[in-house]
């Protein structure tokens, strides 16, 4: 007898609950398909019209086989033909429908037809909103923020502790701009200057490499270790720091005063090296800047003039009553020179005093000398030069250079034997046809012994009688020296001598530049500044006033062919008081003359 098949079609309702329809097939086989005529009607487009046939083949046994060749699933496995025992509760799947096999009542094969749960249609309005599958807005926001904090803040903060001397320097990303060429070697060592966290760069950091009062060898070695291709420029204080602070005028504008208060409140004072010398900054080229000034040369930190020279050197006495400086509010009002004059001697030491030229100072230098006689082109000195001849460096009338021998920016100190000895012989006796000559340098020793001022360990080499003659009126020494009475054995003594190398200690006059050495159109020759040809007395101070400088300095090219700048830095350097600033070009020429391998001091530039 063929077993019947009981079909239970379960339909789930939208509001919950199920509707169960039961149907019995007596003939033991059921057609499965989408066709309405199929016994097991599965309205699913994945199912063929007549997809498969289920047949009862024995007690509790069925076969299911495809009619179209399209497979189906049994317990999740694909098959086209299968024989099953219904008691095992197999599940046969066609499209979205599951057929659950089981044992029905009266020995029937029960087939329960269930449609698989389908997802409710997405009808929410939120479907219209834009959503990123990978990264939501919030997730992306936090990620980006944390990545930046980690890479840009935490990494540089912890890196010195973690990586020590690593090649990567994460704190370089904090640099607000490249360093100047002069400091470029410090790019990887931010803490060379930024020594203390949250404290603005202090002068100690700068002076560690630039202090002229420090141990230059140590400084050079330190800078070399840092990788600098040249040695640092060493600088001196312009004046003691407390005096400088008092000399500085208050800012002239309200804005400047507000800025000053702001800077003080922020612990960012404006009297630091870094207040003027700005790193990480590119200062635009200033066409008005003087060509000779060092301040705007390529490769150096930008220079910001907080106070220029005139700002402090105007009404200085009001702010700094103790100063001996005369105000210099501008080049036009530059005070006349106050040369350092030898006004006398304290023992052998010259007593020097700054005296204004307008006071017509007289020098007490211990000499008797007439420039006029020596430079007269038809006089005895000229004749003597001709007699001496070119072989001895003369041959014609004497020139300035016959005695004043150029040496760098100045001259070699006058040496009697070299510069005067060709004419002024120190011979004092003739022995066997040979002249015995006093040695000028020993004369002091001789005189000192004779005065009793020196111990007799160095016995005199000359006969005291000769010396007495030499010191007597009309004697050898009296030609050039001031001789004064003395209680010593000779009865007279030579007054101390002091020939100053520089008379203007705070201004640097370079005799070597072409414009100052008579080379080129309009250039100054010696006689333009020194009225030596008319000077009969050694007491005459042979320098001219500042008006002579103004003949060229401060003039335009329309006024004179020898026009020159009128900036303070032409003669005065802030950091090397008494010298004029050296330019990068000066340093370059110096560097070219250095032996191979030697590092130049300062950045040489054009």
């Amino acid at each position: 007898m063929t077993q019947a098949i009981t079909l239970r079609l379960i339909t789930r309702q939208a509001g919950g609950g199920e509707i169960v329809r039961v149907r019995r097939i007596d003939w033991g086989e059921a057609l499965i398909g989408r066709s309405p005529e199929a016994d097991i009607h599965l309205p699913d487009l994945a199912v063929d019209m007549e997809h498969a046939l289920l047949q009862v083949t024995g007690q509790g046994r069925v076969t299911v086989k495809t009619l179209t060749g399209e497979p189906f699933l049994v317990d999740g496995k694909t098959t086209s033909h299968v024989e099953l025992e219904v008691v095992r509760g197999h599940v046969i799947t066609f499209g979205d429908f599951n057929l659950l096999l089981g044992q029905g009542g009266e020995g029937d094969v029960a087939v329960t037809i269930l449609k698989r749960e389908e997802e409710p249609p997405a009808t929410s309005a939120s479907l219209f909103s834009l959503r990123a599958t990978m990264f939501g807005r919030r997730k992306m926001a936090w990620t980006l923020g944390l990545v930046i904090l980690t890479l840009c803040l935490l990494a540089p903060l912890i890196s010195p502790a973690l990586v020590g001397h690593a090649r990567i320097h994460p704190d370089r990303q904090w640099s607000s701009g490249p360093l100047s060429k002069a400091h470029a070697f410090l790019e990887k060592d931010c803490q060379a200057c930024h020594a203390q966290a949250f404290v603005s760069v202090r002068d100690q950091a700068c002076l560690a490499c630039h202090n002229a009062g420090g141990d230059a060898a140590k400084i050079d070695a330190r800078v070399g270790r840092e990788g600098s291709p040249f040695l640092p420029l060493l600088i001196s204080d312009h004046a003691p720091h407390d005096l400088l602070l008092r000399a500085m005028p208050p800012p002239p504008t309200v804005r400047g005063r507000v800025a000053g208060m702001f800077e003080t409140a922020m612990n960012h004072p404006s009297d630091r090296c870094a207040s003027c010398h700005r790193e990480h900054a590119v200062l635009p080229a200033d066409p008005a800047a003087p060509k000779t000034a060092d301040i705007l040369r390529a490769g150096k930190p930008a220079l910001v003039v907080v106070n220029d020279c005139a700002a402090c050197h105007s009404r200085l006495k009001m702010r700094l009553p103790s100063t001996g400086l005369v105000d210099t509010p501008s080049w036009d009002r530059h005070p006349d020179f106050r040369p350092l004059v030898t006004v006398g001697f304290d023992g052998p030491q010259p007593r020097l005093q700054r005296v204004a030229l307008s006071a017509h100072p007289q020098e007490v230098n211990g000499l008797t000398f007439s420039h006029r006689i020596h430079m007269d082109p038809t006089g005895g000195a000229a004749r003597q030069g001709q007699v001496l001849g070119a072989a001895r460096g003369y041959g014609a009338a004497l020139t300035c250079q016959s005695c004043h021998r150029p040496d760098g920016a100045g001259f070699k100190p006058i040496e009697m034997e070299r510069d005067c000895g060709a004419c002024h012989s120190l011979a004092f006796a003739e022995v066997g046809g040979q002249l015995k000559t006093l040695r000028h340098h020993d004369m002091r020793n001789v005189a000192g012994v004779l005065r009793g001022a020196l111990p007799p360990a160095n016995p005199p080499v000359a006969d005291p009688a000769v010396l007495r003659r030499a010191l007597a009126p009309g004697g050898l020494c009296v030609d050039c020296h001031t001789v004064t009475p003395s209680a010593g054995p000779l009865g007279r003594q030579i007054a101390p001598v002091h020939i100053p190398e520089r008379m203007l200690p705070w201004g640097d006059f370079n005799h070597a530049v072409p414009a100052h050495s008579g080379v080129g159109a309009g250039a100054a020759a010696c006689a333009d500044c020194h009225q030596a040809r008319t000077s009969d007395r050694s007491q005459d101070l042979l320098i001219e006033g500042v008006a002579t400088c103004r003949a060229c300095h401060g003039k335009t090219e329309h006024e004179t062919t020898a026009f020159a700048g009128a900036q303070c830095s032409e003669c005065h350097s802030y950091h090397q008081p008494g010298e004029s600033p050296r330019t990068g070009q000066d340093r370059l020429f110096t560097a070219l003359g250095l032996p191979k391998g030697a590092k130049p001091r300062g950045l040489p530039t054009f």
Binding site: R34, P36, P43, L45, A46, M49, T68, P121, A122, T123, S124, A125, L127, F128, S129, L130, R131, A132, T133, R137, R138, M140, A141, L144, G145, V147, I148, L149, C152, L153, P156, D171, Q173, W174, S175, S176, G177, P178, C190, H194, A197, F198, S200, V201, T253, R255, V258, A259, F262, E263, M266, R278, A281, V282, L283, P284, D286, A302, V304, V305
Partner: protein, 292 residues
């Protein structure tokens, strides 16, 4: 009289004033004044100082502090908009101030930089700020123009109705396809199972639905119809019509999604870039003072 008065009241309350025009351009004028003031002070400083301007001058610090306060306050809109309130400090006023003061940052922050840029965290913060402002500007444009397009596209239907229509058409398609042979039923399945209404981020943003499964199905129905006959042909014709109806419904819903995406996409830049900016701003400030 009373009636006329009532009408006036209604008209007043129904008049829409956009956030751009809020308070008679109050914040626009405030921002312009702020920018003009900043430019004037900067010009004065630049003219009088020989030194280069930048973040390190008194003016630089002032502009920087102002910029930082503005950035933090502007970012707080994200917090403010989640708090419901009314009165004078309305959300509309906040948004209006947000837009105009945000735009003023271009001037304030640029002057703060002193026109000095480089490959560093400082320029990173500046760049991110510009990105935030640019994306915000896109947002302003979107809010000013797109809601009309959105409304025009929608007509009288709601977004729910649009999706419901597609769902209904799917059910009709399933029904109509029942008599079809397997190959033709597969065409309908392609539409039913393969159609993605919205799609992903970029698809919505660019409205790129060239490979829509429903369109493929329509393309396949035509040739199938030529060889079909009888019941199959009748069913296919119905299916063809339903597929075309579905294409229309899909087009409308997708246009709505595309416009919505354009309306919202700027926020995907604006919000993350704001967080990145706040982080970069913190790094900028800390690093400047750490290595002062």
């Amino acid at each position: 009289m009373a009636g006329a008065h009532g009408q006036t009241q209604r008209r007043k309350t129904s008049t829409h004033e956009s956030f751009l025009r809020h308070g008679g351009f109050l914040f626009a004028r405030l921002s312009l004044a702020l920018c003009a003031g900043a430019i004037a002070v900067y010009a004065y400083a630049a003219f009088h100082d020989r030194l280069p301007q930048g973040g390190g001058t008194t003016l630089g610090y002032t502009l920087g502090a102002l910029g930082a306060i503005l950035i933090v306050w502007l970012a707080l809109l994200g917090v403010r908009k989640r708090a419901v309130s009314d009165g004078h400090y309305s959300l509309k006023a906040w948004v209006s101030a947000h837009v105009y003061l945000g735009l003023s940052l271009i001037v304030i922050a640029t002057l703060h930089t002193g026109f000095k840029f480089g490959l560093n965290v400082h320029t990173l913060a500046y760049g991110l700020m510009l990105l935030v402002i640019a994306s915000g500007a896109v947002g302003v444009w979107a809010y000013a123009t797109l809601p009309r397009a959105l409304s025009n596209n929608r007509g009288d239907t709601t977004r729910k109705q649009m999706l419901g229509e597609i769902h209904d058409l799917d059910e009709q398609l399933l029904e109509a396809a029942q008599p079809l042979s397997r190959p033709n039923a597969e065409i309908v399945r392609l539409s039913l199972e393969g159609t993605d209404i919205g799609g992903g981020f970029w698809r919505r943003l660019f409205g790129a639905y060239g490979d829509c499964a429903n369109d493929h199905a329509i393309a396949l129905v035509g040739p199938a119809l030529q060889v079909a006959s009888g019941r199959e042909a009748t069913a296919l014709r119905k299916v063809d019509q339903l597929l075309r109806d579905k294409a229309k419904a899909l087009g409308k819903a997708r246009r709505q999604m595309h416009i919505t995406a354009l309306l919202e996409a700027w926020l995907f830049v604006h919000v993350p870039a704001t967080f990145a900016l706040l982080a970069a701003l913190l790094v900028h400030i800390v690093s400047v003072f750490l290595y002062w």
